[in-house]
Symmetry: C2
Subunit: 311 residues, 2 copies
């Protein structure tokens, strides 16, 4: 019986690390910088070194460590290989194999958003659910699909790439991915600001948003919660796009719970209400009552989910 | 080592039965009527009786039978329970448990469209693929999602209910499910006829379809293949709806292959070309080249997939 495992969440500027007991108890978390120079060649060796240090510092017997799970910002296939992780300046990299070779421990790798979904399904807002959709609303829209307690990584590592589900064929502006009409263009922080700017320029109605020099998603959400009529219309549009998209995803995998995470989710229940109104309108009858909840692990979702990968 | 298994596919009028070797070789197939009277109480006993007869007829030792898999027209959860199967006049029924009790064999149950997807992924058009989306275009649109070689049944048994993915919020006519804008309203045989009628009444352009008293989906597809300009426009609309929907589904589960089945799929490669054109337009970059193929097992997909359930 193993006693410990490590959960690692690699971001563009820092690597979050967690030492867990195998029952999911987080013993300690810490961060190291992400050294992206020289095509990010130091990143995995740095991770291996910090794990080795922690094992020695705590006097842990390596035989008692189940392994290391790691979340990476980029597509990871079910073998734990990265096709390319642009934020880490990586091309193809067999992440799980390299990390296992470096640490002498079993290692598994997943996409960071997928891994966060696994974390929320394990110890977060959907704790105990075997089938979960997570939508992470940040600068972009990420996602993770959990089926039977496992990440749906997808054949090319693009499982859960729900931000690039093309939901509005009439959109004329281009998404970062090159397509037009991706969910990310409407439901990310950037998408909310874009929708706000369109709405504000299409009418003369007074709004607290007009006094701001630059508008952030938080400004829109605050005005929405304060009942500003224009902000309410903006968020209704966001809710229709996101709720409608989640209803389609639910017709594919029929989850037990839908979790909304990322910076935008700090808006809390009013945001859920706004998404759920449209989700319920468009969802297949059997899925209409599927619970929709705010993510609860925050920035720790990644280390929890990464740890779960090896359990 | 078991040598045999049974695959059963229950339809509204007949039950298809298959005796398989466990390597997937179909030894024999036959049908029995579906007796739906008295709330369909005879259906599972009839299945058990025909299995028992076949075992005796062939002198098979029951210990050599791995089990019985069964596909049911209606939502089946991952425990093999039917919530309700309206075509069989069933309410809640623990199908797998009842069939196991009746036969004395291990039994598993799945939704018929999901089970057909498993069949195509095992021995059909996507043989060997672990991650598959099947879209069955018949009177309605059914579907099945295979992830890691297993059916995504969903929490309420609604996994793969892609016919009721709501993809057009501007639709005003009602789907059989009560919503407006479901994929089934555009991509089923019925949906193709509906789209044809709309297109024909919206223009005066000559078309071979105008000479027909009633139009079937086959008429539309034949005219499309013959290059009839109106039929081409109709099928472009169908292709845009279906290709666009499949692109969204691919952003969720990122399959290795997409299989198009059902009566409409008899139109063959020209249909694939028409769907794929829009699939590629809207799919996330990593998924654009995912192969799209016509189902190859026809009406036998259900018995193959049902057999695979117990292997």
């Amino acid at each position: 019986m193993s006693l410990y495992c490590f959960g690692i969440d690699v971001g563009g500027t820092s690597v979050k690390c967690g030492l867990f007991q195998t029952d999911g108890n987080l013993l300690e978390k810490w961060e190291i910088p992400t050294r992206t120079e020289n095509s990010g060649e130091n990143i995995l060796p740095d991770v291996a070194a910090t794990i080795e240090n922690k094992i020695q510092e705590r006097g842990i017997d390596k035989k008692d460590v189940a392994g290391v799970g790691i979340g990476i910002p980029g597509p990871i296939n079910s073998k734990g290989e990265a096709a390319c992780a642009v934020n880490l300046y990586w091309g193809f990299k067999p992440v799980a194999k390299e990390l296992s070779d470096l640490t002498g421990l079993p290692a598994k790798a997943g996409n960071d958003a997928n891994v966060a979904a696994l974390g929320e399904a394990w110890k977060g807002a959907a704790a105990g659910a075997q089938n979960v959709i997570l939508a992470t609303l940040g600068t972009g829209v990420g996602g993770g699909i959990i089926v039977d307690g496992k990440i749906v990584a997808g054949y090319h590592g693009a499982g859960g790439e729900i931000g690039h589900a093309n939901i509005d064929h009439s959109e004329t502006e281009e998404c970062n991915c090159g397509n037009r009409g991706c969910l990310e263009q409407f439901a990310s922080a950037t998408g909310i600001v874009r929708t706000a700017q369109k709405e504000l320029s299409s009418c003369d109605e007074s709004s607290s948003l007009r006094s701001l020099q630059t508008i952030t998603a938080k400004d829109v959400l605050d005005a929405f919660k304060a009942g500003d009529a224009v902000a309410v219309r903006i968020m209704e549009k966001v809710g229709e796009h996101l709720g409608g998209a989640l209803a389609i995803f639910a017709a594919v995998v029929d989850p037990e719970a839908i979790v909304i995470g990322g910076g935008v989710s700090k808006a809390g229940q009013p945001l859920i209400d706004c998404i759920q109104k449209y989700y319920r309108k468009y969802a297949f009858s059997l899925c209409k009552d599927t619970p929709m909840v705010i993510a609860s692990l925050g920035n720790d979702a990644g280390i929890y989910g990464a740890a779960k990968l090896v359990l």
